[in-house]
Symmetry: C2
Subunit: 198 residues, 2 copies
């Protein structure tokens, strides 16, 4: 059984993903970064942790086959499919209001950290800590010695799939970054399509 | 004014480090990894965050000149001096009981995560979240594409210095890892010397 929704540009959504289900994220326009988090559905203090995942990972960057682990080192999601060139990030924090202020935008700006907090609160699982996200389609070539973030290398229709290895609340945020090239050189955040396959 | 203490192998200690003070850590025997954390002295929910630091950092690995920022992107510590070859890690989680169980040690094992929690509780600033530490002297050459951890490249007497850019509670843990080469190929955790210079 499949259910699909459009994750609107600049917004976040949290939802239940039961063990055995698969999450597909389609980068409809090719250039949209999606910040992803996962929490134990029964204990939101247990979250998908990039720093714990890396200790046990087969590769220094997230690739097909990577098992994302929690801060208790328990398997949460497995990266099972990727049609993109494979440029995803797990080194950089989610954007937040202060990030935009540092870039010169002093008024309120939509951001992935608030998207996470608001979406989790709506599910009845409020969180205060914002874990380092899995930044799908984010082109941050840190391994080449470069700390910059560049336009995604993904193409329209490229998709990734993650399989749930536990009962989870997953949160996705279509990154609102429009003051840097994170979401493409047009700096125009866009929608993505999300499908849950049970 | 200087005060010096020996951080005993396998243990942690938390202490106040006021803005303007300098912290020196001497790797007495050359092979000891030291996990380091910092918290806002007035709000332990604000902590030194490797993923926020990297966004604003001049280098993909921690080097002299790196300003370590909090999860609110505020400057906390500056890396001002390093006599070692410069192999320090900021990608990998602190060891914990589960880490040792995965390695085959099912009984209780000293670990950096518990060292942090216990040391912070002793200062009256209990924490539940264990941030990704700055793993001083940890030789984890992730940038070369290798996810392993190797014996430190530091030599006896090598030291690092960090300057406090805010009023902080700093916690250090002399890593108890004795089931891998993290603390040298003899797998024997050792003492280090810590000096606070005001």
């Amino acid at each position: 059984m499949e259910s699909t929704f459009t994750l609107i540009a600049c917004t976040g959504r949290a939802f239940y993903l039961g063990e055995g289900a698969t999450l597909r994220i389609v980068n409809t326009f090719g250039t949209q970064v999606v910040d992803a988090w996962a929490f134990n559905a029964n204990d939101s203090a247990e979250f998908m942790s990039m720093e714990h995942t890396r200790v046990h990972a087969p590769s220094p960057i997230p690739v097909k086959g990577t098992v994302f682990r929690s801060n208790k080192r328990q398997p949460m999601l497995e990266f099972i499919h990727d049609t993109s060139p494979g440029d995803h990030d797990w080194f950089f924090a989610a954007c937040d209001q202060v990030r935009y202020e540092i870039l010169g935008h002093t008024d309120a700006h939509a951001n992935c950290s608030d998207n996470l907090k608001n979406a989790m609160a709506e599910t009845g699982n409020p969180v205060t800590h914002v874990p380092c996200p899995l930044n799908l389609f984010e082109n941050a070539p840190l391994l080449s010695g470069d700390t910059g973030i560049y336009p995604p290398t993904s193409r329209p229709g490229d998709s990734v799939e993650l399989a749930a290895l536990a009962d989870l609340i997953v949160c996705l945020s279509a990154c609102p970054q429009d003051m840097a090239d994170t979401n493409g050189s047009d700096r125009l955040p866009k929608d993505v399509e999300v499908t849950i396959i049970r």
